[in-house]
Subunit: 236 residues, 2 copies
């Protein structure tokens, strides 16, 4: 099966979680908008295509099926790409973790866009500074401590002790946070040894290493979810 | 199977989406914190119990399994309660829609808490007014138009043409939005005839009608996700 991934060009965005799974599995896929432009996405959003109606990219075309929402795409691909071994209970736990990652991603995005996703960062700078302080002090530690705790419990004793799409998404989270908030992440360093080890392990997987070195991996930038604005990441 | 639902007392919150599914199906369940207090939730959040580690309530205990994240709980319950008929493609579409509802719920929450979920509304009133204006003008119409479009496409032709947990969640959305933003919802009235018909149909289902009339249905209030603050819902 040749999968078709639809996601906006120019940013990693939420498409990246799907891309990492497809790349790691060596799946056959086309990154449609990168070949045909963002306009290839529009007929789906306007309901001019059959199948499920996506609210927004990313969505995946798999044969005649259209599947939207990052976590749902991963739930679909997981068993098909051998990326969530362990049966139903592992699949359910993986989804739960992926949805918690999705919640975290919303909060990361909203640090620079607390008022209006449709407006420029520069138009909401004051609120962004306030929200990001709360994010750095409360939410970042809460989410990272949680995932560290999940990994600590997971050691061999239960579901997700083996490689899954959740590991790839955690790698993406850590990479993005290192880019956006290097100072805050340095302060978290000693609290997340298992997340750090996981991120290093993922970066060294042959297909991921090849992908990261390829032009297919767009750099983090200030159009995406993980943005580096020095005023949002003070040294203290 | 007797399910155990864990969710904070005093608000409908995200637990309500699960509660509606359990009630509609006539499932055997205990609303644990309402019987034993919120403290019954803490051992799970602290990792003192086996099974998956929840980030936050709601979570469901089903035998020895612990399942967290509203949409994941519904994905698990759906086929077991006969609440997502139509096989795998219907299950996938239902999840996609439920995750879009979850995204919408975050945005609804953040209208009154754009800066800090941990702080009082009164401490972030100015930002709330700005964010809610964008919500009323852009996000509310965008999400409601989307779900109306989904229902329009769905008529008999495809997945989700039959009753599912998504219908119950859409009912909850419409009910909550009517409570929080009566003026904005009045302006949307003519654009969402199918959503209105669905909400009325759900309210009349015998088990739901009985539930809504029971003391188990907590009223909407200003501690929950859907809050009515007149200054956030001007008449224009």
């Amino acid at each position: 099966m040749r999968y078709e991934l639809y996601y906006w060009t120019g940013i990693q965005g939420r498409g990246e979680y799907v891309r990492l799974a497809l790349e790691d599995a060596g799946a056959d896929y086309i990154d449609v908008a990168r070949e045909r432009g963002d306009k290839a996405i529009m007929p789906f959003l306007r309901g001019k295509q059959g199948g499920a109606l996506p609210f927004a990219p990313p969505f995946l075309k798999a044969g005649r099926a259209v599947i939207a929402q990052t976590a749902t795409i991963l739930a679909y691909l997981g068993p098909r790409l051998g990326m969530v071994p362990g049966g139903l209970s592992a699949e359910i736990y993986a989804q739960q973790l992926q949805l918690t990652i999705a919640d975290f991603v919303v909060e990361i995005h909203d640090t620079h866009h607390p008022i209006a996703a449709s407006d420029y960062y520069e138009a909401q700078r004051g609120a962004a500074r306030e929200r990001t302080q709360v994010f750095r002090d409360e939410r970042l530690p809460k989410f990272l401590d949680y995932f560290e705790h999940v990994l600590e419990r997971g050691n061999g004793r239960q579901a997700l002790s083996r490689h899954s799409y959740v590991d790839l998404s955690l790698f993406q989270l850590i990479s993005g946070l290192d880019y956006a908030f290097p100072n805050a992440m340095r302060r978290m360093q000693k609290r997340i040894p298992r997340l750090r080890a996981l991120a290093e392990r993922i970066a060294e997987r042959p297909n991921i290493a090849a992908y990261l070195a390829s032009p297919r991996r767009i750099s983090f930038n200030e159009e995406g979810i993980f943005r580096h604005y020095p005023e949002l990441d003070p040294r203290r």
